[in-house]
Symmetry: C2
Subunit: 385 residues, 2 copies
C-alpha cells in the first residue's frame, strides 16, 4: 500500500529565537516496506521546549535536526505494517517519531511498546511520559524534597512544572512558581497546587529577587530550573545552606543564537558558601527506570493525587502553531497535536496486565523494587529501554 | 601569671584584593584567667586562601572577622593554664586560634585535642589538617575518581591541590594542574605528580581553553575548582558527560570587592547538556568524619603514598607576609608560621594509642568502619568533632 506522508520540514537554523520561517509543510510518498522495516501511523505528537536545543548545531545531549529534514518530536503511533519480526502490526509505540503523519523505521530500539491498560495513550506523552517522568526523577534524585522545605519552579505553569509542583506538595513543601505574566501568576495562586507565584516579564533581576524573597520567607531549599538565564540568577541570594538545584531546561536562554553567550552573574560563590549541589538532568539517562516512574505516576493520577491538563490541537499542519504556543508559554497544559486515530481492535498488547499492575491490589512498592532488580518483570511493561 | 600577646589586628575591610594596610601589629596583656577559661600558647599558625572570604561582610559559610579584632586563622597551640575542668594543662589543641601568640578560650568545643602519635603536629594544619582533609572528602564524595578519567585541579600547586592530585593519581587518573605562571607549570611537569600543567597568567579565556584542550586529550571528567572565575570558565567546553565539579575555593575572584560582581559565561547550558553535577564543599560540614580522614591520610604519608611540603616562617610578625605569599601563590607547600614551641614533656595525650592506630598491624578499613558507627572509639582519637 502507498501512503502520503505530510510532514513539517526544518528549513533553516534560527539565528536567535526561532521564527515561523524555520518550518515549511511538505509531503512525500511511502510505498513498499523493505525487509526489517515497520511503518507507524502517528496518532499523538508532543511539543516540548527542548526542541529549540535541537535546532542548534552545537553539542547537546540529543541529536540536532538536519536542515531539510523532518523536524524532531516525540509521539505515539500505531504499527500499520511490519516487515520486522520484533514488531507486530497493531502495536502502539512511543518514541521520537518526528513531526509527520507516518514514521518509517527499521530499528525497534528507537521506540517502545506502550500498554494502554496502565495509562491512557496521551499520558505517555504527558503525565507518565516525558514531562511527568522528568519531574519524577528530578524530584526523586536531585531535589529530594523534605517536609517543610521550599521549592521554586521556573516555567511553573508548564506541564513538567505542574507535575513537579504536585510531587513537592505531596512531600509537604511550600511550592512557589515563576511564570511569565501577572495573569498567569494570579491563575496559579488560586489553583490549589502552588502556594504562591511570581511573574518575571518586564522585571529586572533585582525586582524579581525582591518578589521571590516575599514569596519565600524561609528562603529556598530547592530550585527546579526550567529556564536558566536571568530568571535563575534572581534566586542566587535566596538559597539556604545545602540547597539542591535541578537543571532541567533552558527556556530563558532560548533567544540566544549561541548558549555560550549566556553571560551574567556566575554562581560559584553561592554554590560554595551555601554548599549547594546543582545537577543537570536528561530523561534519556533514566531509560531503564521508566517502568517505575510510569507505574508510580499512573497510580497517583488514578488515585487523584496529581492532576494534569492536556492542550490538544488537531492536524499535522498545526504543529508549527503548537510549537510556538509552547515557546510563548500560551499552552494550557501539555501541548499535543492529534494527527491520526488509534484502531483499538488491532492493539495486541495485554491491556489487562497493565490494569492489574495499576490496581490497588498490587503492592506498588514491592513491584517497583522488583522492577529495579529483575529483567523478567520488565517484559510485562510498557516501555522497554 | 601575665602574658604579652602580640597579635595581627584587622583594621579595615579591603575594597577589592586585600592590601597590606588591612593589617596592623598590636599587643595586649593577658593576666588572671576566670573560671572556665583556658589559655593556649600558640605554636603553629596556618595561612589559608579562605581567609579572604572572612574579610568580607557578606554572608559566608564562616564568620566574618570584625574590624578592630584579631585576624582569623587556624592553628595548633598548647594549653599552658586551665580553669576549665574539660581541658588539661599541656594538651595540644587545634582550632581557630587566630593570628596571635596566645589564645584565651572558655569553650573546649572551639578547638580539639590532637594526638602527635597519629600525625606530626604541623600535619594537623596541612596533610591531615584543613588542606588534606578538604582534598580527601572532596575526592571521596564529589569527584569520585575512576581509573582512566581526567581531573583538572586549579591552584594546582597549592597544598590542597597537591594532595587532591595525589589522591586522584592513586585512583588511576590523568591529573592536570592549572597554575599562575609558566615557571610553576614547568616545575609541576617534572614533579612526578601531575601528568601536565597549564598556566593562566596573561592568557585570555580562549587561549587557556586551547591549552587545556591539549593537556586533556580525552576531555575532562572532574574539576577540583580552587579558583572559580575566569579560570574555571575556560573549562566549560571541555567537560565530558557526567562530569563532577567540586567547588572548593574562590582564589580567582578574590580581587572582586563583592563576589556578586563575578560575571561571565554562565554554566547552566553545559551543566544540563552534559548532565554535570557541581557541588560546593566546606570542610566544617565533615567534622564527625575527621578521624577517618586523619587516619587514612596519616597512613598514606607514612606509607609514602602521598607527599607534601610545608613552607615555614617564624614569628607572629611574619603573619601578614605569609598571608600575601599565599594570596600571590608564592608559597612552596602549605604556608605555616611558627610562633612558639611545644613542651613535649607536658603533653598528656596517649601518644602510643595514636601510634598503634597508625601502624600497619591495624586493619585500617576496619577501624574506619568502626569509627563511622561508634562513638567510643572516637574518644581515643585526635580531633573531637
Amino acid at each position: 500500500m502507498s501512503y502520503t506522508n505530510h510532514y513539517v520540514k526544518f528549513i533553516k537554523r534560527p539565528e536567535s529565537r526561532p521564527t515561523e520561517d524555520v518550518f515549511e509543510m511538505a509531503q512525500e510518498n511511502i510505498s513498499e516496506l523493505k525487509s526489517g522495516e515497520f511503518l507507524l501511523k502517528n496518532v499523538y505528537l508532543s511539543l516540548d521546549p527542548a526542541m529549540v536545543g535541537r535546532m542548534r548545531e552545537e553539542s547537546n545531549y540529543a541529536d540536532s535536526v538536519e536542515v531539510g529534514g523532518v523536524m524532531h518530536c516525540y509521539g505515539i503511533g500505531q504499527v500499520i505494517e511490519s516487515k520486522n519480526p520484533k514488531v507486530s502490526k497493531g502495536e502502539l509505540r512511543m518514541g521520537q517519531l518526528n513531526m509527520q503523519e507516518y514514521t518509517l523505521s527499521n530499528n525497534p530500539e528507537d521506540s517502545s511498546k506502550i500498554n494502554v491498560g496502565l495509562a491512557d495513550p496521551t499520558w505517555y506523552l504527558s503525565v507518565t511520559g516525558i514531562t511527568g517522568m522528568t519531574a519524577y526523577f528530578a524530584m526523586r534524585d536531585i531535589c529530594q524534597p523534605k517536609s517543610g522545605e521550599t521549592i521554586v519552579i521556573s516555567a511553573g505553569a508548564s506541564s513538567v512544572g505542574m507535575i513537579a509542583a504536585q510531587l513537592a506538595k505531596k512531600a509537604g513543601c511550600r511550592v512557589v512558581a515563576i511564570v511569565s505574566t501577572d495573569e498567569k501568576a494570579e491563575g496559579l495562586r488560586g489553583g490549589g497546587i502552588y502556594d504562591d507565584a511570581v511573574s518575571y516579564r518586564n522585571k529586572d533581576t533585582d525586582t524579581l529577587t525582591a518578589d521571590l524573597t516575599l514569596a519565600c520567607p524561609g528562603g529556598v531549599d530547592m530550585y527546579f530550573d526550567n529556564t536558566s538565564g536571568d530568571i535563575s540568577e534572581a534566586l542566587l541570594d535566596l538559597y539556604n545552606d545545602y540547597s539542591r538545584i535541578a537543571v532541567i531546561g533552558r527556556l530563558g536562554i532560548s533567544h540566544l543564537p549561541d548558549t555560550r553567550k549566556d553571560v551574567g552573574r556566575r554562581d560559584n560563590n553561592v554554590i560554595l558558601a551555601k554548599r549547594i549541589s546543582k545537577q543537570g538532568m536528561v530523561l534519556l539517562d533514566y531509560k531503564s527506570q521508566y517502568p517505575e516512574a510510569i507505574i508510580q505516576l499512573s497510580g497517583m493520577v488514578h488515585r487523584k493525587e496529581i492532576r494534569f491538563e492536556e492542550d490538544m490541537m488537531h492536524g499535522i499542519e498545526k504543529m508549527p502553531t503548537a510549537f510556538f504556543r509552547v515557546l510563548d508559554g500560551k499552552n494550557k497544559g501539555k501541548q499535543l497535536v492529534k494527527v491520526g486515530d488509534i484502531n483499538s481492535y488491532d492493539d495486541p498488547s495485554p491491556v489487562k496486565i497493565g490494569q492489574s499492575i495499576r490496581s490497588k491490589k498490587w503492592l506498588n512498592g514491592f513491584v517497583v523494587n522488583a522492577l529495579r532488580s529483575t529483567r523478567t518483570v520488565k517484559s510485562l511493561l510498557p516501555m522497554r529501554a
